[in-house]
């Protein structure tokens, strides 16, 4: 019993981590007032960069870092379009979701002999070192180091958003950019930086798939996690801690299907797999209620407009 419970916790943490990075990516961008539908695409680029860099250099940490930079580079497009040129943020995000996987696969085929996947690469270490807790029931708690990084990222974002001057500015820009502007906050610069950070976090999210859960990039390494992360942002009411909780819930649901899937339970596995998504809607209806998006979320800021 204890064993399966610990296993459940371990798998939950494992599956929720890419979502945590992805949803934090959404939180920072949307709190500053820029909708980011493109998390999925940014995660794909991160996933590819991470495993390619780790394969060529043998250094997964460098891969992780470069994944963040690659994600930010893609986010540069989104920031340029939606902040500088006041473009439609939804359309730009959808474009990123087409463009980014295209770029990742193009480079992948170019570098790896027309294959749509990278070779197996060196992955990031476990939290307590390889095989540290083996033999004890706690072995399944020796999770990937990315789990801790994801938690730290959520903690830092919560601190920055709610306890620092910078966070107040970001929130002000997302709620009422005109008011923030009159107080001397540079709306465009704040949003631009937030979108770049958003891209970096999404890149980390991709990396935490290909450097921890699986050890190579494939065409389906990221299949919808970016969209689930987006849902987690809304589920968590645009708060870093809320989003983190939502991601844990999605991770738990996925872990349940893994742990219970092998058992003798009569529920068909497809219905089990459906459960987290049905549950989300029920929870939203019963407990969460009206979504409270940042007021200026998705609205381009034109200086002088009211």
């Amino acid at each position: 019993m204890l064993n399966s419970l610990l296993l459940l916790i371990g798998i939950t943490l494992m599956y929720s981590t890419p979502l945590v990075f992805g949803s934090l990516s959404g939180v920072i961008s949307e709190r500053s007032g820029v909708v980011n539908i493109g998390i999925e695409g940014m995660m794909v680029v991160g996933a590819f960069t991470a495993s390619a860099v780790s394969y060529f250099t043998g250094n997964p940490w460098l891969g992780f870092l470069m994944a963040g930079i690659a994600g930010a580079a893609i986010a540069l497009l989104h920031a340029g379009a939606s902040v500088t040129f006041h473009a439609d943020q939804t359309v730009s995000g959808v474009a990123i979701n087409l463009l980014a996987p295209g770029i990742a696969l193009f480079f992948c085929r170019r570098l790896f002999d027309n294959a749509a996947m990278t070779p197996v690469c060196t992955t990031l270490p476990k939290l307590f070192g390889e095989g540290a807790l083996n033999g004890t029931p706690y072995a399944s708690l020796n999770v990937d180091v990315t789990v801790a990084l994801g938690f730290a990222a959520a903690l830092i974002m919560w601190f920055v958003l709610y306890k620092t001057k910078w966070g107040l500015r970001i929130r002000a820009v997302g709620e009422h950019p005109a008011a923030a502007d009159t107080l001397g906050i540079n709306v465009e610069r704040t949003r631009f930086i937030c979108v770049l950070i958003s891209g970096m976090l999404a890149g980390f999210g991709g990396a935490s798939v290909t450097l921890a859960i699986v050890s190579q990039f494939t065409q389906t390494a990221i299949s919808g996690q970016g969209f689930i992360a987006l849902a987690a942002v809304i589920f968590g009411k645009w708060k870093p801690h809320g989003a983190y909780g939502a991601c844990l819930l999605f991770g738990l649901a996925q872990a349940l299907t893994v742990v219970l899937g092998g058992g003798s339970i009569a529920i068909p596995s497809q219905l089990m797999a459906m459960l987290p998504y049905v549950l989300t809607i029920i929870v939203l209806v019963l407990f969460v209620g009206r979504s409270a998006a940042p007021k200026a979320d998705g609205v381009p800021y034109l200086k002088g407009s009211r």
């Binding site: 539908i37 497009l77 379009a81 939606s82 040129f85 006041h86 473009a87 439609d88 943020q89 939804t90 359309v91 730009s92 959808v94 474009a95 990123i96 979701n97 087409l98 463009l99 980014a100 996987p101 295209g102 770029i103 696969l105 193009f106 085929r109 170019r110 027309n114 389906t220 299949s223 919808g224 969209f227 689930i228 987006l230 849902a231 809304i234 589920f235 068909p268 497809q270 219905l271 797999a273 459906m274 998504y277 049905v278 989300t280 809607i281 939203l284 209806v285 969460v288 209620g289 009206r290 979504s291 998006a293």
Partner: protein, 376 residues
């Protein structure tokens, strides 16, 4: 100068400019990666329109994305973002298969019944999202994403039920042949038909070698119908009013909540219709276990945005999108260049469409400049 300014002011100018620049950027990427852009594009267009069979396949593959594109464009005009087109499309295929396998009526009854079932399935999926938004204020993006996954697993569930599962496969039984919407499905394979067709090779190629079906006619009709609904009717006017300013519409006495549900219902119905037409019109006329999304709905998002959210534009954007994807395979076969270049190109086009409001701004600037020159 005046004609240029006038042309730039037309809504279609942004789409055409975006497409042209998309091609240029793809050419630059190809050249930088060491592939000659000219022959690559030649290979692509050859794979798109080089043979009657290719043209036919482009049209066949355009059918579902014209419909999902129209669905997304319609929702977008009414202020809703239907990212759930994918799930509603899947629901359409599921319902079409269930009804098409269960019933076996004469084609004249069976075909409308199966198509109606698929349409209803999609409509229900859409309406559920709309209702959750109207009644509980839940953002349609989150529920749509959840419904996409629910639909995917529902599809896998139905595939594995005893009633519908085709033994030793990962699919269901095909729908009864009376539901087929291909053009002359039996005649074209009969001896008589093959004899008659052998005289005209292009017709032989189109009819026998592809699943040419009536879907495209329905898709085009649906897009036109939606355009008329939006532009020429009172309901359409109200829907657009809600899309432009929800509070103002409410103040003017429009029932905003009912509007949201209706719009999502119509949008979902279009996606369900797309799914049903795929089942009735294309081999293998069934549904299979889905490991990942097939993107018929997600591609609808791209189509809608390339079309600048114009339903009529979706017809052309859908054909272009389908042509690029289908012809893009030839780039890899002929040139060895990764076919993903097509996704980069389409992504660039959609990205530029996001920036489309720059085009009228350029027109304004040009006009001011030319006026300044006249005055000087």
């Amino acid at each position: 100068m005046k004609t240029i300014v006038k042309l730039l002011r037309k809504p279609i100018a942004a789409s055409i400019l975006a497409i042209v620049v998309g091609f240029i950027i793809a050419a630059i990427v190809l050249a930088a990666a060491g592939y000659a852009p000219g022959p690559s594009f030649a290979a692509m267009f050859n794979g798109m329109i080089g043979r009657p069979k290719y043209i036919s396949n482009v049209i066949i593959k355009a059918t579902p994305i014209i419909l999902t594109g129209t669905a997304v464009a319609f929702a977008f005009k009414t202020g809703l973002f239907n990212i759930g087109a994918e799930g509603q499309y899947i629901l359409g295929t599921i319902c079409a298969v269930i009804v098409g396998v269960t019933f076996n009526l004469p084609p004249l009854l069976q075909i409308p019944l199966v198509i109606l079932a698929g349409t209803l399935g999609g409509a229900l999926g859409g309406a559920a999202v709309g209702w959750l938004k109207a009644r509980f204020g839940i953002n349609e993006v989150i529920t749509s994403i959840m419904f996409n996954w629910i639909s995917l697993y529902l599809c896998n569930f139905v595939v594995n039920t005893q009633t519908f599962h085709q033994p030793e496969s990962t699919s269901t039984f095909p729908v009864n042949p009376s539901s087929y919407t291909m053009i002359l499905p039996q005649w074209k394979l009969s001896e008589e038909g093959l004899n008659a067709l052998s005289g005209t090779p292009w017709l032989y190629e189109v009819l026998v070698k592809t699943d040419v079906n009536i879907g495209i006619l329905i898709a085009v009709a649906a897009a036109i119908l939606i355009a008329v609904l939006l532009k020429r009717t009172k309901i359409g006017y109200e829907m657009r009013a809600v899309g432009l300013n929800r509070e103002a519409a409410q103040f003017a006495g429009i029932n905003v909540n009912r509007n949201i549900v209706t719009c999502m219902l119509i949008s979902g119905a279009l996606c369900g219709l797309a799914g049903a037409l795929s089942v009735t019109g294309l081999e293998p006329h069934n549904i299979s276990t889905l490991a990942a999304f097939e993107n018929n709905g997600f591609n609808g998002l791209s189509v809608a945005f390339i079309a600048g959210s114009s339903p009529i534009g979706c017809i052309f954007a859908g054909l272009l999108f389908s042509g690029l994807i289908y012809g893009g395979q030839s780039v890899q076969q002929v040139m060895g260049a990764p076919s993903d270049i097509i996704n980069i190109m389409i992504g660039t086009i959609v990205f530029l469409m996001a920036l489309s409001q720059i085009v009228p701004m350029i027109a304004d600037r040009l006009e001011r400049k030319s006026k300044g020159a006249e005055n000087a």
